[in-house]
Every structure is written in structure tokens, then in C-alpha cells.
């Protein structure tokens, strides 16, 4: 059993035949994005939760600096945010790649890279890890970050002055997935676990352990503070295209060439 983690590796494992197909009974009860993930892999994997890309910001620091909370992608390139934003480096972080792929799908590739170039003066650090920026926001090391919104909720619940917004122009998301490995020794138990993980009780464990992703089962209660899909504007995320190794490599190399090498 392989449980959790972002959906791309689950899809490539299914492609390489490392996992086996299974249709849990809860399939009909799942959100469309979770079903889409399963259909793309011929049911060798299935979506369990989703994370929405957005902005995290430190309310205290923003108030102290007199900056209005970021609402749109365009806000981040304005003067008040100069040197106040952190994002991860796509060379090392899947979060940052999701952001670039989202922008490319939202604006078209050339305009997306023009935006990233305009964003560069606002970024004070391209961190190695995807969750690094939101931790920095929580500790007041930077005012704002580009992060998954559920990570911002985790920090807020831990007692830090953190809030999250979804970009007004539209945003992308990741689908956390699970797969049953081919040749699993205890197949019956693995299937039982998969059934449970997608059931209402199973999906509720996220909130109980302070994980604030959006659950896949439509009947599962949304954890308090978790991003509500209905309230946000989404792009039609093309997981097949932007999950492929070649496209990923090309976009990351372009980022490296055009933005990563810029002086600061």
C-alpha cells in the first residue's frame, strides 16, 4: 500500500506498472478531481485529498509594514511586496513546479514567464523545500509566501498569525493519491484499507491529525479552516501534460535560464 503524497509519482508508477487496479465502493461518492485521477491511471491509483495553491501571509507583519493582504497574482509584483515574498525553488520543490505549471495554464507560457520575471524582485529567497516559505511566514521571517493553503491552515491552528488567500485570477491544485502496489503480500487487507481511507470515517482522520487538505469523499466533513473548492476559481489542471517528465524538465530549465540566473 502506498498512501498519500502528491499525485504525479502515483501516475508515473501506474504508467510503469508498479501498482494494480482497484475500484473501491466509495468511487461514486468522490469529488470529480479524485475520480479523474483514477480514470487517468486506469484505476491503478485514486485521489484521497486535494491541496490548493494560494498565498500565505503573516497578519502581524503585514499590519506592521502596512501592506494589504495579497488577493491576486498581480498583487505580488507591486511595490509594497518588494523583498517580502518567499517561494520554493522549482529545481527542488514540487510545490513551486505546481505554481509554474498553474501560471502557464492560466496565462499562457510566455506571459507566465514574464510574470515570474516581474515577481523576482519581490522574492527574498527561493527556498529548497516546498513547505519552507510558509514556515518562514509563520515565524515572521517573511511577510508572504506562495504555498499550499492547507499548510497555512496548519500553521494558523498551531497558533501563528497566518492567513491564506486563493488568487482571484484562478489557481491550481495537487491531488494526493493512494495506490496498491503490484504483488502486495496482503492484498485483501490493502483493499480493506483503501475502502476505509475513502470512507467518511477514514477521511475524517485528516482533521483529527491537523491536516487540512480537502477530502475526496463528498460526504466527508470539511475540516474547519480547510480551503473550500466551491469558493475559489480554478484552472482546468492538465495533469497528464504537466505531470509528464519531459514537459516538467523543459519548464524547469526555462525557469532556471530566465529567472533562476537573474541577479538580486
Amino acid at each position: 500500500m502506498w498512501f498519500g503524497g502528491t499525485g504525479d509519482p502515483h501516475l508515473s508508477a501506474a504508467e510503469e506498472g508498479l501498482s494494480q487496479a482497484y475500484k473501491p465502493p466509495a468511487l461514486e461518492k468522490l469529488q470529480p478531481w479524485a475520480r479523474k485521477q483514477a480514470e487517468a491511471a486506469e484505476y491503478k491509483t485514486i485521489g484521497v485529498y486535494a491541496g490548493v495553491l494560494g498565498f500565505g501571509y503573516n497578519t502581524e507583519l503585514m499590519a506592521k509594514k502596512g501592506i494589504a493582504p495579497p488577493r491576486c497574482w498581480a498583487d505580488l509584483t507591486t511595490a509594497p511586496f518588494r523583498g517580502e515574498v518567499q517561494m520554493a525553488n522549482p529545481n527542488s520543490s514540487g510545490t513551486a513546479y505546481v505554481m509554474i505549471a498553474t501560471l502557464v495554464q492560466l496565462m499562457g507560457e510566455d506571459r507566465a514567464f514574464a510574470y515570474l520575471k516581474a515577481l523576482h524582485p519581490s522574492i527574498n529567497s527561493y527556498t529548497r523545500s516546498g513547505t519552507g516559505p510558509i514556515k518562514a511566514v509563520a515565524r515572521g521571517e517573511t511577510a508572504a509566501s506562495i504555498s499550499f493553503m492547507h499548510d497555512a491552515v496548519t500553521e494558523a491552528v498551531a497558533g501563528f498569525p497566518v492567513r491564506a488567500n486563493a488568487p482571484c485570477e484562478g489557481t491550481g491544485y495537487e491531488v494526493g493519491s493512494m495506490s496498491i502496489l503490484r504483488g502486495a503480500r496482503n492484498l485483501a487487507n490493502a483493499r480493506k484499507f483503501a475502502d476505509w481511507a475513502l470512507s467518511v470515517e477514514g477521511q475524517a482522520t485528516g482533521a483529527a491529525t491537523k491536516q487540512f487538505q480537502t477530502p475526496a469523499n463528498v460526504d466527508a466533513p470539511l475540516p474547519e479552516g480547510a480551503p473550500r473548492f466551491a469558493d475559489m476559481k480554478f484552472i482546468e489542471y492538465d495533469f497528464a501534460r504537466y505531470g509528464s517528465a519531459a514537459e516538467r524538465k523543459r519548464l524547469i530549465e526555462r525557469w532556471d535560464r530566465e529567472i533562476g540566473s537573474l541577479p538580486r
Binding site: 522549482p90 520543490s93 513551486a96 529567497s125 497558533g159 516538467r248
Partner: protein, 712 residues
């Protein structure tokens, strides 16, 4: 009597113990099903005779030969037969292990030759391990009988043991991992090696080199200052100072990073004070080179200190007394006698500092910011958005080249000189007090450093007792309650806290690994400094290899090499213990080598003239003189077992969750309170363990006098 012992080991391995690995671990009750017809718990003979494992017959036949061979008369005949049977047995074991996998033949040509197999086999287990040792010691015994290793069976066995450990658990996995750099062809490798992201300004290779050199220089000097203060002065606080220098080594690495952020970060105490008093915002200077440098110097000074204190303590005062008698003043004695005698120790400390720095993972990931270094780049090449293990292998090559060249330079600097100062000849005298200038310098360096350490630890400790570290300073015990809660049930104590399972696993695995690491490390040190045999240099270089490779690479290499039979260890506790041994062996080795190079070989000669074998000389003459090295190897092995993150994060599983991995995951989820509470408890446990080891193994006593003031 090895003549009887080795055949006995062989017999138990082949006839009694289960040949294959136990699915539920070493301590499962499957062991009790000896001679059961379940292939998972049957010994080799039964497997071959009744359970269709016909490929084990050659191994069994070879085992019989190896058991009988020692009884053959004559040096040539007996020795030759032993060597041949032992080597053939090992080869057959390896051959059948690779040839028959989980689902039958692994190699297609064998299947064409012998037809498909009905069933395959699991990975090797306890029986196979014992049989392997039996074959190995038969072979080394034979070699000794033929006159190799000066005819000494103990030396031969020791060399064989070290060789097989290094070969199987260091050389092989790392080679597999490194070779994967060439998967995409030589041209691709060359192109990746010359990458601008590595060698350009701010490239990770260049950054790693600069950081490593700076850290090594700082830690060596600080370690020396502390070692001199602790051993050569009667400073009232030196016991405390000694404890302080040990603190960072027993702390999980990222804790120091978080502590530094709390003090020096943008929202840290210093910055808050600066903006309140002077209205300046010091900004984010800590992220990047300064922060990583500071945190690493914190983390690795103790290692340098442990190396240096062994050297300074082992320095016989006789020569210094002689210099004083010849009317040299304190400063001159220090410059012309003490300092040169410490050179191998300094070179060792520098080497250790450099290699620790370039392979460190925890600090760059917490404090690195934009400052890219190789070890984190490797990690992200494997798990990050690139998912490019080939690039990781290329980076590992560069890292390896760095560490190996430092090693070569160190060898070149200290080669061809003798640093022997402790001999068997009578009284050793009293250590000289430090010259005043040196003493002041040491104090000026050490005291501010100690103060900063105290500050970081006070903050970290406080973090376990407040609601939200850095924000809500309301005192609470809830973090400790959640981690270490106890309940009372009908069956006795219920371990309710979330931290208990990982704590028990960690202590158990580190406790198993530490004596093994220290034992093999010192044995290897003795072999490399005291014995001459063919292939010694090669073996030494291979042993140090794992030290030069960062933990992340070792972790990935282990998962890759030990995922399938014949050695199917991924997900077990065994693989973690093996990773600890292979990672920490070089430190025990270097401490041992530094200590051995100070002991006069005339001690060995005297012992062998009194007709003692090499084994008895090691045990009765050298080991008692090596107590500080033994103690520090034990301490280091245990502590590293408890605090390592980098290699272990790839190797833990549901059953073998390690404390550090648990803590890191809690911290990553923003649960700093629990992470800090747990880390504090770990630190306390380690302090107790160090005290216990020092008490049991004890310090060195070279001189026979005590200072006059005390005697009266």
C-alpha cells in the same frame, strides 16, 4: 580454540538455524520452528533435502569440506584445503543468492539451461549469516596456516571480518549508486559534471567547498581550545565546559538551526532588541552562508573536541618535562614540543570537520535559504520535482572527490613522521600547564562560544514548556504529556504517549549498533596501524569511503542495494543498524588510529617476546591504554545512532520509526512544542548514557603520580 569453533559455527548455520530471513524480524517466534517444513524457517539441509532448494547442495557440500579441512595434516595441505573450501563456500553462497530470486531464476540463461524453477527463495537470514562467517573464518584460518598475516589466525580473521563488512555494506551499495551516474552514457555524465549550476558563482559545488573549509578550520581551532582548557588548566568551570561542548553533538541537528533562528532571525531576540533600541531591521542575514556556517560550527566543534581531547590526553608529558628541564620556557615548549606532537590530531580534526560539513543535511535545509550545497541538492534530485537519480549520482561523485582529496592531503601532510610519545618505559610525568598567552587565547575563544551555546539551549529547553514557541509564552506541560504520557491499566503500565514506540526502537537499534561500531572500528584501527599485509591500504581507503559519502546518498544506496534477495533488508531494523555501523565506523577508526599512533610498538614487541599472540596483545596490553578511544567510539556510535537524520530518513518503516525522523516530521507539521519536548528528553537520555559509558569504560591513566597538592 578456533579449530573447533569455526566448524561448529558452520554446522549451526547450515543445519540448525533457519537459512532464510524471518519476515517478522530477528525476535519473532519463527526461530522456534526449527526443522519445520515451512521454507521460511527451515535450515539449509532441510531446504535442500525436502523443500526443493536443490541449489543449496553445493553450499552444503562445501560446508562439510570446510568443517573437515582443519583436521587435515600438514601446513600446505590443511591450509590450502581450508582456504579453498572457505572461498568456494562464500562464492557459492553469493552465486546461489543472486541466481535464485523471489520468483525463480534471476538470469535467463540459467533458466534455459536448467528449466524453470517451481519456486524461488527469500533473502538470506540468520543461518546464512552464520554459515557465511564460518566460511570466512575457515578461509582466513587457511591463509594464516599457509603463512600469510605472519601465520597469525587472529590477524587474518580480523582482516577478513573488516574486509567483508566494508565490502558488503559500504563498497557494494555505494558502487551501485555511483555507477548509476553512467546510466545515460559517458557524454551525459561529463556534461552534467561541468554544469554551471555546480561551478558557477554560487554553484552548489563551489558553495560546499567554501563552507566545508571554513567549518573545518573553525571547528578544529575551537576543538583544540576546548581540549587544552579542559585537560591542561585547572579552570574551576572546566567540567561544565566539557559538558557544554558535548551538548551540540547529542542534539538532533535541526534543533540548533531553529534555536539560532529564534535568536538571530528576523523575528528573533537580537533583531527585536535592535529594532526596539535602535530602530534598525537587521533583516534576513542568517539565511545562507552565515547561518549554515554558524550552525555547523556549533554542531561539529564537539566532534573536533572529541578527536583533540583523545590526542591531548594521550600526549605523554615526558617530552615536555624534558624541554622544561632544558630551560625552555612554557611558550617555547608549547611551540616546539606540544604543538608538533598534536599535528596528526589537528589534521584528523580538520578532516573530520570538513567531511561532516560537506555531508551535513539538517542545517543547510533549515538555514540554507538560497545557499545551495551538494548534500541537499542530492536529496532534492532524488525526491524533489526533478526526480533525477542520475543527477544525484553525479553530485555524489563530486562530493566523494572533495572528501577523498582532503583525505589524501591530510595523509601527505602527516606522512613520514613519528608521533609516538607514550612508551612502556616507566613513568610519564605530569602535564605542563598552558603558557599564559595560549591560555588567554583559548579562554577568549571558548567563553563567548560557551555563552552562546547556553543561550541556544536555554531557549530550546524553554520551548518544550511553553504553548507556542516564539509566540505564546504561557507555561504548559501539555507537550510532555502528549509525548510521554503514561496510563495504568489492568495489565500494568500503558505507554500512552505518542513518542514511546519510536523512543524504544531508537534506543534498541542504537544500543545494538554502538558496541559493534566501536569494536569493528578499533579492530580496523589496530589492523591498519599495527599489522602489515597485502591489500591493507586498499582496505583502509574502502573503510573510509562511507565517511566521505553523505547520509542521504548512503540511504538511497542502501534502499537500492538491499531491496531484493539475497540481502532483502529494506524496512527492517537490521538495515538501520548496518547503516549506522557503516556510517560511523570511520570515526571510531580514526579515533583509534590517532590513539594507536601514539603508542610505542615496543609494547607489542615486548608482549610477543613473552609469547603472546596478536589477539592477547591487543586485549591485554593495548586495549587498556586505549580506553579514551574506546569510550569515545562507543559514545559517538550511540549518539550518532540516536541523532542521525539524513541516512535514516530513507530507511525507517512503520515498525522501525526512529526518534529523529519522528521529531523532524512533527516539526515539519508545525508541532514545535512536541518536537522540542521530545528532543530535550533525547538529550537528557544521551547525557545519562554518556555518563554511564564513561563510568564503565573509564578514562586513561598513563602517569603514576598525582599532582603534589592533591597527594598531601
Amino acid at each position: 580454540m578456533p579449530n573447533l569453533l569455526v566448524p561448529l559455527v558452520l554446522a549451526i548455520g547450515l543445519l540448525v538455524l533457519p537459512w532464510h530471513m524471518q519476515q517478522d524480524g530477528l525476535l519473532s517466534p519463527d526461530w522456534l520452528g526449527l526443522w519445520s517444513t515451512d521454507p521460511a524457517s527451515a535450515p539449509a539441509l532441510l531446504l535442500a533435502a525436502r523443500l526443493n532448494h536443490a541449489w543449496l547442495w553445493p553450499v552444503l557440500a562445501c560446508g562439510l569440506t570446510a568443517a573437515v579441512a582443519p583436521m587435515l595434516p600438514g601446513r600446505r595441505l590443511g591450509g590450502g584445503a581450508m582456504l579453498a573450501a572457505g572461498l568456494l563456500g562464500l562464492a557459492l553462497m553469493a552465486g546461489q543468492g543472486f541466481a535464485v530470486g523471489l520468483a525463480g531464476w534471476e538470469w535467463p540463461w540459467l533458466e534455459r539451461l536448467a528449466g524453470p524453477l517451481a519456486e524461488g527463495q527469500f533473502g538470506m537470514g540468520g543461518g546464512a549469516a552464520l554459515a557465511g562467517f564460518g566460511f570466512l573464518f575457515t578461509a582466513t584460518g587457511g591463509a594464516a596456516r599457509l603463512g600469510a598475516f605472519r601465520g597469525d589466525a587472529f590477524t587474518a580473521g580480523a582482516a577478513g571480518l573488516v574486509a567483508i563488512v566494508v565490502l558488503l555494506f559500504t563498497f557494494w551499495p555505494i558502487c551501485l549508486a555511483l555507477l548509476s551516474a553512467f546510466d545515460a552514457g559517458l557524454l551525459n555524465f561529463a556534461a552534467r559534471l561541468a554544469d554551471r549550476r555546480l561551478w558557477g558563482w554560487g554553484g552548489s559545488a563551489l558553495n560546499t567547498l567554501a563552507l566545508g573549509l571554513a567549518v573545518a578550520a573553525c571547528t578544529t581551532l575551537l576543538g583544540l581550545a576546548f581540549a587544552l582548557l579542559v585537560t591542561r588548566t585547572r579552570l574551576p568551570l572546566r567540567k561544565l565546559l566539557r559538558a557544554l561542548t558535548v551538548l551540540p553533538i547529542i542534539t538532533p541537528p535541526f534543533v540548533i538551526g531553529l534555536g539560532l533562528i529564534l535568536i538571530l532571525g528576523r523575528a528573533g531576540l537580537v533583531n527585536q532588541a535592535a529594532s526596539a533600541l535602535f530602530g534598525v531591521d537587521l533583516g534576513l542575514w542568517i539565511y545562507g552562508l552565515p547561518g549554515v556556517l554558524l550552525a555547523q560550527v556549533f554542531a561539529f566543534t564537539p566532534v573536533a573536541f572529541l578527536v583533540m581531547i583523545g590526542v591531548v590526553e594521550g600526549l605523554s608529558p615526558t617530552l615536555e618535562e624534558a624541554a622544561r628541564t632544558l630551560r625552555a620556557d612554557g611558550a617555547r615548549t608549547f611551540r616546539t614540543v606540544t604543538w608538533p606532537l598534536m599535528r596528526p590530531g589537528l589534521a584528523n580534526a580538520f578532516l573530520v570537520g570538513f567531511i561532516e560539513s560537506v555531508s551535513d543535511f539538517g542545517n543547510p535545509i533549515v538555514l540554507g535559504g538560497d545557499y545551495a550545497v551538494l548534500s541537499t541538492d542530492i536529496y532534492f534530485a532524488v525526491v524533489g520535482a526533478q526526480a533525477d537519480p542520475g543527477r544525484a549520482a553525479v553530485l555524489a561523485w563530486i562530493l566523494l572527490a572533495f572528501s577523498l582529496s582532503t583525505f589524501a592531503i591530510q595523509r601527505w601532510l602527516t606522512a613520514g613522521r613519528s608521533y609516538v610519545s607514550v612508551s612502556g618505559k616507566g613513568d610519564s610525568g605530569l602535564p605542563q600547564p598552558l603558557p599564559l598567552g595560549i591560555r588567554r587565547l583559548c579562554l577568549a575563544v571558548a567563553v563567548p562560544w560557551a555563552a552562546l551555546t547556553v543561550a541556544v539551549y536555554a531557549l530550546v529547553l524553554a520551548g518544550g514548556f511553553v504553548r507556542v514557541w516564539g509566540r505564546d509564552w504561557t507555561p504548559t506541560l501539555s507537550h510532555y504529556g502528549r509525548a510521554f504520557g503514561l496510563g495504568w491499566g489492568p495489565g500494568g503500565i500503558i505507554w500512552e504517549g505518542t513518542a514511546w514506540p519510536s523512543l524504544f526502537v531508537t534506543l534498541q537499534l542504537a544500543g545494538i549498533a554502538a558496541p559493534l561500531t566501536a569494536g569493528i572500528g578499533l579492530l580496523a584501527a589496530w589492523l591498519f596501524t599495527r599489522q602489515r599485509f597485502a591489500g591493507r591500504r586498499l582496505l583502509e581507503a574502502a573503510t573510509l569511503l562511507s565517511f566521505a559519502v553523505p547520509g542521504t546518498v548512503i540511504g538511497v544506496a542502501y534502499v537500492r542495494a538491499f531491496n531484493v534477495p539475497p540481502l532483502e533488508l529494506t524496512g527492517t531494523g537490521v538495515i538501520i543498524v548496518l547503516a549506522f555501523i557503516s556510517r560511523n565506523l570511520p570515526v571510531g577508526l580514526r579515533a583509534g588510529m590517532a590513539a594507536f599512533s601514539q603508542l610505542d610498538p615496543s609494547l607489542d614487541e615486548a608482549s610477543s617476546m613473552l609469547r603472546q599472540g596478536n589477539g592477547a596483545t591487543l586485549r591485554r596490553v593495548l586495549l587498556p591504554l586505549l580506553r579514551p578511544a574506546v569510550a569515545s567510539a562507543l559514545v559517538y556510535g550511540f549518539v550518532r545512532g540516536v541523532t542521525t537524520v539524513s541516512a535514516v530518513i530513507f530507511l525507517t518503516s512503520g515498525q522501525t520509526e526512529m526518534a529523529t525522523v519522528f521529531i523532524v516530521l512533527r516539526a515539519v507539521n508545525g508541532d514545535y512544542g512536541l518536537a522540542i519536548a521530545y528532543a530535550s528528553v533525547l538529550v537528557a537520555i544521551l547525557l545519562a548514557a554518556i555518563g554511564l559509558i564513561t563510568l564503565l569504560v573509564g578514562g586513561i591513566r598513563i602517569g603514576r603520580r598525582t599532582p603534589a597538592g592533591v597527594v598531601a
